[in-house]
Symmetry: C2
Subunit: 232 residues, 2 copies
């Protein structure tokens, strides 16, 4: 093949077993709340996970992320308190008949997990005008989520479970972690080794919601009209 740049390298499909490993990470990854073991996450393993996150795609190569690694029990306790406050608000938002099931679900492992990790997005990094963010101001937040998912899949391959905790009042997390004004806490993650994972998403197993059929989610060329959807 003609190679027009010394920086372009041959890149075909992976071997079948490599490809299977990538899909294995994708299909067996779970949101973990209760299965964390107390085995410490070694520094080199955590470093590999953070490096995987740092190699996510980012708009304009902005790399807007930071990684706040939390092991301090005092900080975790403050975060736990912030979750408890927000979750007590959350349960009341659901219809009466859903509240008992909601309350029975464990939705975080903040103090169980050996490591907590807040992945943030610095919206001011790279200046006011960022290539690719000119027409969608949220592309930097999306880049940061790509970093979360890279880390999550790498963690699965390392035997490390990850849980994303999203039930916080933003101001509480900002205050506890002392985040500057321009920095958004995109994901608060709990990390730790696991010996077991659910074979399907926990919310599916526990009857909260079922998996949608993929056939119903894929459209050709444009969003179908209401009439097409009724026929299909």
């Amino acid at each position: 093949m003609y190679d027009p740049s010394p920086h372009l390298k041959h890149a075909g499909p992976f071997a079948a077993d490599e490809r299977a490993a990538v899909y294995r990470a994708i299909f067996t990854r779970r949101d973990v709340r209760s299965e964390f073991t107390q085995r410490p996450v070694e520094a080199p393993v955590l470093q590999r996970l953070l490096t995987a996150a740092h190699h996510a795609p980012s708009v304009g190569f902005m790399q807007p992320w930071n990684f706040v690694v939390i092991r301090n029990p005092g900080v975790k306790a403050e975060v736990q308190q912030a979750f408890d406050t927000a979750n007590a608000e959350a349960v009341k938002m659901f219809p009466d008949n859903r509240q008992p099931l909601y309350s029975s679900l464990k939705l975080q492992g903040i103090t169980d997990a050996p490591v907590n990790l807040c992945i943030t997005c610095d919206r001011a990094r790279g200046g006011e005008v960022v290539l690719g963010r000119t027409h969608n101001r949220d592309m930097d937040l999306y880049s940061t989520v790509c970093a979360v998912q890279n880390l999550w899949l790498a963690a699965r391959s390392e035997g490390v479970g990850v849980g994303w905790v999203s039930i916080f009042n933003d101001a509480d997390l900002r205050h506890i972690l002392r985040l500057p004004e321009t920095v958004v806490p995109v994901a608060y993650l709990c990390l730790g080794y696991v010996d077991a994972l659910y074979e399907a998403p926990e919310l599916e197993i526990k009857g909260w919601r079922q998996r949608l059929a993929i056939e119903d989610l894929v459209f050709q060329d444009r969003w179908p009209s209401a009439a097409d959807l009724n026929v299909g």
Copy 2:
């Protein structure tokens, strides 16, 4: 190990070669604009990629995504026009001394790529109150980005390159794809087989921006004070 649920399955670390495959996907994934070949993306391969996306984590198991698969040249031409309009606006936002480099960069492969794919987020799916979205209304958008990154890594393992095009006026894309009011076009992707990829991000190779040192991005327990940052 005591197994408290029939749905919990043993889940340790992957074998070394499987783990290496996951990291290979993460570290060799690129945002592709120019390297698409005309080899068609077979339906079973596309199906595997969409299934990988559909197995992303989603807040409250909401699965807010849809997948609009675009092969129609007429639709692609409309999207190309929308990009051209937005990109002409974008270049003027940069300082004079950056405009020549900006203009020299190819930022999309809309008509080159055999398949375009818009991954959307239906913000109304699952009703007004969604578990885990009670305190951060954007968690459904973040879930959708997790689906993008799953697909991107699976595609790398299949030899399929992916480019994320973000320079659009939102209204144009909505109009062309006929998206309902509640549906947000989160990612417009170009997909096609590639024979070669850049060995580092294209924007780095072409001198737009450099990779940040990861040591500067990792903090312990809380965001450091300005004084700490100066010392470190």
